[in-house]
Amino acid sequence: MNLLRQGIVTGGVIGLMWAFVIAVTVSVALSFASGLGFRPGIWGCLLVGAAGGMALVYVQNARWVIVGGILVAMTLLLTPLSPMFFGEGVSIMWRLLAVGLFGLFTIWPLERMLVEAHVGALNRHAFEDAVIRFLTGFGYIIFTAIVLIPFYVMVMTSLKSQQALLKNPLDFSVDLSRGLDLFRSYFELFGQFNFGSYLWTSFYVSVLTVFITLLFSVPGAYAVARLRFQGRAAFSRSILLIYMVPMIVLALPIYIAFSMTGLRNTIPGLLMIYPVTTIPVALYMLQGYFRGLPGEVEEAGLMDGLNRIQVIMKITLPLSLPAMVSVSLYVFMIAWNEFLLAFMLLDDPSKFTLTRGVAMLNSSEIPRQHLMAGAVIATLPIMVLFLGLERFMTKGLTAGSVKG
């Protein structure tokens, strides 16, 4: 531990770990971007990292170390100790770019990480700060990668042709010369697979679910939040209990009942179930918000001769508009993303919701890019809603606790 806290050792160790992270990151990023072969050269990148880290502890002027790091990395390219290795057919420009990026993104952040490090024993603060900066940088890279890569793959696969996909699964470069043909999978989904109708079904089912949910949960939430009655606490608790019933346990008897009554394969059947899965969440979220509203305003309304229903309509609801937006978005998201019930209850392709339609595409006869295009179509509206109204959505997610 004491040895590790020597500035020079700290610099070296953090340097080589960071260099490895960057070498892998650059390889993966360039492979995904170009479809060519890049891979980290373990010894080379460790060498550059360790040397760079130590140099940054020694040398005061960091700019020279950054330039030096890039130059050293490029020189090593010609030796067996290259920090990156390349597959066949990778041009010299790509190679220089790869190594240059590696050098830059290794040394430059290292300089920030080791800003407090100096020759000799570091104190606890300086040492831990360096470690934390390393972990932070590592965290940003890893989280961004794990979140972005699947979505990147989803979008890019949907734009590829079947042959290109089989030839090189790594090649995600977009062939712009294909023009509108790039979106062929989408045209086929809307043209042959009826996705326009699925999109519409999903949309109106989700919107109706939001309305029905609000219709039931607003009065319920108001009662729980504002009115005194026996069993109020018990009721609040049983709402939480309903959260805990697994959908598959309910889906089985619902399937049986719907099969026997002919409600299976109908949208009204679906609309009987969807709101019930969201009412408890909505009720719980709304009652939390109603409780936070000042009761005096409502009492003033009562004094002025409004009855309770009028108070709810004219005072409580207008005041809780932001909460209503959050709840609506959240419920919309649940209904839009719902898969299990749609999968079990709908067999007739003319009545599919979007998620059910995408599930239908998962067959060996339908090419992969169609499946991914379907996934993009299902994801895009939610993403647009989410990014456009992120503030409300985040609030909805936190308030709605952890249904999922």
Binding site: G220, P246, I248, V249, L397, S401
Partner: protein, 410 residues
């Protein structure tokens, strides 16, 4: 002089308020009991029933009527069938109005002609019962029109099918079946592994992500939105993307690993034990870390900064501040999240179903419900698994409420 006492009876106002409250709650209570409580009771009932997927079709008499011609002679034909191959229909029979212009030349032994009404009775018939009654007739009028009239009027059928869902046949076979052999322990192990590691993993990763974003810098909102992507996108989209990405033949990740020299051949991530179970757990962590991240971040931002300033004055190092200040402050939300996520991960069905279909040792209890009920077509066994899930959940809930009452929020 009497001391003032609070009223012991309920006032009119109070009663009115309670009535209004129940009135407002009534629709919710009604629909929730219809769609949640009723099915829950049904699942217990079904779990003791020997019922398969085919039993869902009702057992009933099926009667078809037609007017046929052979060699210039006309005959009325009734085809009487029991819709089930195995179940008995009791008191099977039918009544049909013979239209004007059709005269029966003969009345079959099971039947009676009462005016224009032909009444036939077959008594109790076995499964697979299938009989044709051929009655020679003379026609008075255009045969084509008469045929249309005859075939346009449906005979009214009688007969009670015995439905296995409502009769008094009970069995313990379903439970014996699901607890039988090693399979149950396999399923239980997969469930516990998935639940425990999925929950803890999502919490730890979420905590790490929250620590990253617990400072202000440019682009923070963007990153926060980005990190929520896995959670807000439809399960079906992300699950299929993972399947595509990790495909052993055309998957990009395998191509990448081979090119980097990590493995020599493609890895079948979702197709081999025990890797498949680990991968679905990793997926679970990936999909649900945003949730713990969001909650932990919200809690972090509400911690008073004074405390950290005081710690700085006392010379606490960054790790000490995290370990002795942040973590104890976060313990409440962490334990609440753990309990909730534990139960929801336990309940999770879609993820594994879409990723592996429950193959390669990833069959959890919830997937087993589907497998038993629909893949093996044994609804009773599926219901029995559901009952096991429910009982385990009840246990968790007791623990949950014992803890949650001590913890803040939620």
């Amino acid at each position: 002089m009497t001391t003032p006492m609070p009223p012991t009876t309920k006032g009119a106002l109070e009663q009115r308020e309670a009535r209004l409250a129940w009135g407002l709650l009534l629709p919710t209570i009604a629909i929730v009991s219809l769609v949640i409580v009723l099915p829950l009771l049904a699942i217990f009932w079904i779990s003791f029933k020997p019922v398969g997927l085919a039993d869902l079709r009702p057992v009933a008499p099926v009667i078809r009527e037609s007017l046929r011609e052979r060699d210039g002679d006309y005959r009325l034909e009734y085809r009487v069938r029991n819709s089930s191959q195995t179940k008995t229909v009791t008191g099977m029979g039918f009544t049909d109005q013979i239209p004007d212009g059709v005269t029966l030349l003969d009345v079959p032994p099971n039947c009676d002609l009462n005016g224009a009404a032909l009444i036939c009775d077959f008594g109790d018939v076995e499964g697979g019962f299938n009989e044709r009654l051929r009655i020679p007739v003379t026609l008075d009028g255009d045969p084509e029109i008469l045929e249309e009239i005859v075939e346009g009027s449906e005979p009214t059928s009688r007969g009670q099918g015995d439905s296995v869902l409502t009769n008094s046949a009970f069995t313990l076979e379903n439970f014996a079946r699901i607890f039988d052999g090693d399979e149950f322990w396999d399923v239980l192990w997969a469930t516990l592994f998935y639940t425990v590691f999925g929950t803890i993993g999502a919490l730890v990763v979420g905590l790490f992500a929250a620590l990253l974003l617990n400072k202000s810098f440019r682009g923070k909102g963007l990153l926060r939105g980005l990190y929520l992507f896995p959670y807000v996108s439809p399960i079906i989209a992300v699950a299929f993307t993972w399947v595509t990405l990790l495909d052993p033949f055309s998957g990009s990740l395998n191509a990448l690993l081979i090119q980097m020299g990590v493995t020599s051949g493609p890895i079948n991530f979702f197709g081999q034990r025990p890797l498949a179970l680990i991968m679905v757990t990793v997926f679970e962590i990936w999909r649900y870390f945003p949730l713990s991240f969001l909650f932990i971040l919200a809690r972090m931002q509400s911690i008073d900064t004074d405390m950290y300033e005081a710690a700085d004055m006392d010379g606490a190092s960054p790790f000490q501040k995290f370990w002795y200040l942040s973590l104890p402050m976060l313990l409440g939300i962490l334990s609440v999240l753990f309990l909730l996520r534990f139960i929801w991960t336990f309940n999770k069905f879609d993820d594994i179903f879409l990723l592996t279909g429950g193959n390669a040792g990833t069959r959890t209890l919830t997937v087993n419900v589907y497998e038993q009920a629909f893949a093996i077509s044994n609804i009773g066994a599926g219901a029995a698994v559901a009952v096991v899930i429910f009982v385990m959940l009840l246990l968790f809930s007791v623990l949950f409420f014992r803890f949650i009452s001590q913890e803040e929020g939620l």
